[in-house]
């Protein structure tokens, strides 16, 4: 799904919940697109961290989801949308070290309670919206210099 005049772009990458083996694929593809577009490395680094963490959150907690990338002049936004359990207390989830990870998730090396805080640190702006039993949407914005 692409815009025609070249000044904006929209990309979508599906992410499968529970699929730890191919996890990281969507964020790697996003990163490679940004490298092709010639975005500065510092910004790519921040986006890579944020999109990887979002992808891992979908893999670890949700049934299914996707990463949406929107590029407009001066700004890139990454939106992680999932169908899943949702987050009952967003404030709490944003605190470093807070985690609801199951032993299985920890076994896979995740669930340290750093995902959302790291995303917030990496992004210039972040908004989390969630409905328990339905799903979560995390929208992150990255300003281009």
């Amino acid at each position: 799904m692409n815009d025609t005049n070249g000044t904006q772009m929209h990309l979508e990458y599906p992410v499968q919940g529970g699929d730890f083996s191919s996890a990281g694929g969507a964020s790697s593809r996003i990163k490679n697109v940004l490298k092709r577009l010639g975005i500065e490395y510092e910004t790519i680094k921040r986006i890579a961290i944020a999109s990887y963490e979002s992808e891992m959150n979908i893999v670890a907690y949700a049934a299914t989801g996707k990463l949406l990338v929107d590029i407009v002049p001066g700004e890139i936004s990454i939106t992680a949308v999932d169908i899943g359990p949702g987050i009952p207390d967003i404030e709490q989830a944003l605190q470093e070290g807070f985690s609801t990870a199951t032993p299985l998730i920890r076994e896979m090396g995740f669930g340290a309670g750093l995902g959302l805080p790291n995303m917030k640190k990496a992004a210039d702006e972040m908004v989390v919206e969630s409905t328990v039993g339905i799903g979560t949407t995390v929208k992150m914005k990255f300003r281009l210099t």
């Binding site: 692409n2 815009d3 025609t4 070249g6 000044t7 904006q8 772009m9 990281g24 964020s27 790697s28 990163k31 490679n32 697109v33 490298k35 092709r36 577009l37 010639g38 975005i39 490395y41 510092e42 790519i44 680094k45 890579a48 961290i49 990887y52 963490e53 590029i71 002049p73 790291n118 990496a122 281009l144």
Partner: protein, 446 residues
């Protein structure tokens, strides 16, 4: 900028088979007009294509022994991996004496320089280097550094800004020779005995420095041949030539570097494709608990370089045995060298620069336009990356079409589809008869 490459293509041997295009870690090879071509700015001289080519059409350019004649005083610097190429019959002392028999005036193992560099890295790490982004990546493998410059430009800041053991050894021995024997530096020829083409390239075109202290590079396998054929004629050395410790020699194989460093949380990864995967993860914010990463382009480390003669796994085993036996090395010489080398010599004089070659245009907006054109074509391609068009992937093909290097019909599947349509049209045309010849039914008879 013009890039020097040790890795070259022998046009007349190339059959255009496309084996190499898929193994190249930077997608630097295309097959056009039935022959492979290497895209200079992408090539990192790792030598993967040399390994893969079934027709030996890829080679690495190194120097011959006759190059020595250009210098009055010749010094051989065998890489740590050199010691892995011999069976027990060939003792290391006599192998090193072989260099003197073959026309060198002095020989110093690069393993000795590795001992010095190990100490320098440890010291750096325990001072200002401790603030480096994690993981800090070793600067020893030039193919890995170039891989980072080209494909992972955001990670150049993770590379430890210290010289390689080869450079430290070369500068030290050249200066020591001038000091001790009064020979002017320009009359001294320093030759590195190398396991891989990346080392040849880094001597001709250093990274993070304007020039190298090494004058020429000779392939390990050539030197091994010379020494083995002359072995029985080699007189024993007058003095002990071996000076590297077990740790310095160990640098020639996987985990050698991390064994030699007094740094906690170290990790070693080998093989260019595995290294790429790890770098990919580091870009995603991973490996933050690792302080030091040893990354080597060749499987098993330098002993697996394409300019070696022995099987990498056997070579690694042999190096384990040889290095074990070398113990502490020449501690007295080590102390002398450490006192002679000023601290700043260990540091790269220039910053390592990124060399991003994958961006589609210099302007983001322009790149977005191009990207969308590429995506449009890519969506129509079969996506099986068969390589028949001479490009490593369907995406690379789409990029080449947009760049004007390829035509849409160079995709075999596309061509086949067009031929099928054309055949169908011809077939239906063949069934049609001109109006005058058509039988309208009923009786034609008068």
């Amino acid at each position: 900028m013009n890039y020097f490459h040790s890795v070259r293509l022998l046009d007349k041997e190339c059959k255009g088979c496309t084996h190499c295009i898929r193994t190249c870690p930077t997608e630097a090879i295309r097959v056009r007009d039935g022959k492979a071509t290497i895209i200079s700015e992408r090539c990192i001289d790792c030598g993967e294509c040399i390994r893969t080519c079934p027709n030996n059409a890829k080679i690495a350019v190194t120097e011959e022994l006759s190059e020595l004649d250009k210098f009055k005083y010749k010094i051989a610097l065998p890489a740590p991996s050199f010691a892995s190429q011999f069976s027990r019959r060939y003792t290391i002392e006599k192998v090193l004496a072989g260099f003197l028999f073959l026309g060198f005036d002095r020989v110093l193992e690069v393993g000795f320089g590795a001992d010095l560099v190990s100490q320098a890295i440890t010291d750096y790490f325990n001072s200002s280097g401790g603030r480096m982004p994690r993981p800090a990546i070793s600067s020893a493998c030039p193919a890995v550094i170039r891989l980072i410059q080209v494909r992972f430009p955001g990670l150049v800041g993770n590379i430890i800004p210290l010289q390689s053991p080869m450079e430290i050894t070369a500068r030290y021995v050249r200066e020591a020779t001038t000091r001790e024997l009064g020979i002017p530096p320009e009359e001294i020829g320093v030759f590195f005995i190398a396991p891989c083409p990346a080392k040849v390239t880094v001597v001709k075109q250093p990274i993070g420095a304007a020039h190298s202290s090494v004058n020429g590079v000779i392939a390990i396998r050539d030197m091994v041949n010379h020494i083995k054929t002359n072995f029985d004629k080699i007189p024993p050395g007058m003095t002990t030539l071996q000076s590297a410790s077990r740790y310095g020699l160990g640098w020639g194989r996987r985990e050698g570097e991390i064994d030699a460093l007094k740094i906690v949380n170290r990790l070693a990864v080998d093989g260019i494709h595995q290294v790429s995967r790890v770098l990919e993860k580091i870009e995603n914010g991973g490996f933050q608990n690792i302080h030091f990463l040893e990354a080597q382009a060749c499987v098993c480390g330098c002993v697996g370089g394409v300019l070696t003669a022995e099987n990498p796994f056997i070579a690694k085993l042999k190096l384990d045995i040889v290095s074990e036996a070398s113990g502490e090395g020449n501690r007295e010489q080590f102390a002398r060298a450490q006192a002679a080398i000023p601290q700043e010599h260990y540091f790269l004089p220039e910053k390592i620069q990124a060399r991003p070659v994958i961006s589609l245009a210099s302007d983001v907006r322009e790149a977005m336009k191009t990207f969308q054109e590429i995506e449009k074509i890519r969506a129509e391609l079969p996506g099986i990356d068969c390589g028949s068009c001479g490009c490593p992937t369907c995406r690379a093909f789409a990029e080449d079409v947009v760049a004007g290097h390829m035509m849409r019909m160079d995709c075999l599947f596309d061509l086949r589809e067009r031929v099928r349509c054309l055949a169908g049209e011809i077939f239906s045309l063949a069934k049609k008869l001109p109006n005058v010849m058509q039988n309208k039914g009923g009786s034609d008879e008068p």
